[in-house]
Amino acid sequence: MPETVETGTVVKPRADVGVRRVAGTVTVGWDEEAFELSETTFFIWRQLDGRRAVADVASSVANYYGIDRSEALADTLEVLRDLIDLGLLQVIASDSGGSAGV
């Protein structure tokens, strides 16, 4: 069953996913398959510590990029859903009650 991601969900990169930062380009994945991350996606990736809920991550995005919180949440959810679809993230908790109040 596909994983669902909501504001209270906690996700983190799968343990077997490697990261490389070469000449300003960030790629994640495995030897046989790697994906390039945009700057924003990498910023979000770095926030995924297995403790912070999606809402908290979106709050960091809003603060860092100086954008509206609802816009940041929508962008963060879209990015995380894409990364989960690619098999790069795992859901740690379905609803931790993210505290950022996005």
Binding site: P13, A15, D16, G18, V19, R20, R21, V22, A23, D31, W45, R46
Partner: protein
């Protein structure tokens, strides 16, 4: 230039060593450069340490030698001499300038971008030579050394070996995960140790700590003062201070998290 600090020998000491080497027939006036590499150059030596000396010539060394290092170059050997100079044990390696050119030719950005991103063509001896070139006490040949150290900083060697260590770390991380899944916790712990070591080596290289010898890993971690992994945390994990034999998975997961953080922070 981004090279680690080396020990500065007083000029009189350098002159004394140069004269002693010449008196013992171990260097000649037509050498292009002579430098000390290894632990002595970093001030990390102990009473039983050899002094590693590199002698660069443009013609094959004709003096007496008593050993060789093998290299994947032409010629395929670097003559060596183990000797005592002023009561100190020294190990000299006689490189040809052309061998140095060939070594650098394996570490270009073109090589990095066109298939050898982890420097597989560089043999261990060649890689150690390059790493020691970056951490040298110059005995003679300042101009040659300045040119070659500039070349070292500008070439792809550091990036190649950083990627090599990160790749090695990834392999050990995957191994540790698989072993944990299989219930083989003892092997997982050893794989996690190796993943940590390779990750730390990549981290140190990212700070331009060119040393490759694993026995100096703790010294390198002390030197780089990394925000990603403090020396105290590194030492706590390396010496397994938080390892609970009844919960080996917890320690392994802790270590793998540190490895992931290093991979996130290291820029190649």
């Amino acid at each position: 230039m981004n090279l680690p600090k080396t020990v500065q020998l007083p000029a009189a000491e350098v002159r004394r060593l140069r004269a002693a080497l010449a008196e013992n027939g171990l260097i000649s006036d037509d050498c292009l450069a002579v430098f000390i590499g290894g632990s002595v150059a970093r001030g990390w030596q102990h009473a039983r340490s050899d002094t590693d000396l590199y002698v660069i010539c443009d013609k094959p060394w004709t003096g007496e030698t008593n050993g060789v290092n093998t290299v994947a170059l032409t010629p395929a050997t670097v003559p060596t001499v183990g000797a005592f100079v002023d009561g100190e044990r020294v190990e000299l390696r006689y490189w040809l300038d052309d061998q140095v050119d060939q070594t650098f030719a394996k570490a270009t950005w073109e090589e990095f971008q066109n298939g050898d991103s982890i420097g597989q063509r560089l043999s261990g001896t060649e890689a150690i030579f390059l790493s020691r070139l970056g951490q040298a006490i110059i005995i003679s040949g300042e101009d040659w050394m300045a040119e070659r150290q500039k070349q070292l900083v500008e070439c792809a060697f550091r990036s190649m070996w950083t990627l090599r260590w990160l790749g090695e770390a990834d392999g050990h991380v995957r191994g540790a995960l698989g072993m944990m899944e299989a219930g083989d916790h003892t092997s997982a712990v050893l794989s996690a140790q190796m993943a940590l070591g390779a990750s730390v080596d990549a981290l140190a290289l990212s700070y331009h700590e060119f040393g490759l010898d694993r026995k100096w890993r703790a010294r390198r971690m002390e030197a780089i003062k990394s925000a990603t992994l403090s020396f105290d945390r590194f030492w706590e994990l390396t010496t397994m201070q938080t390892f609970d034999p009844s919960r080996p998975q917890a320690w392994v997961e802790d270590v793998l998290d540190v490895c992931r953080q290093i991979a996130l922070d290291v820029e190649v």
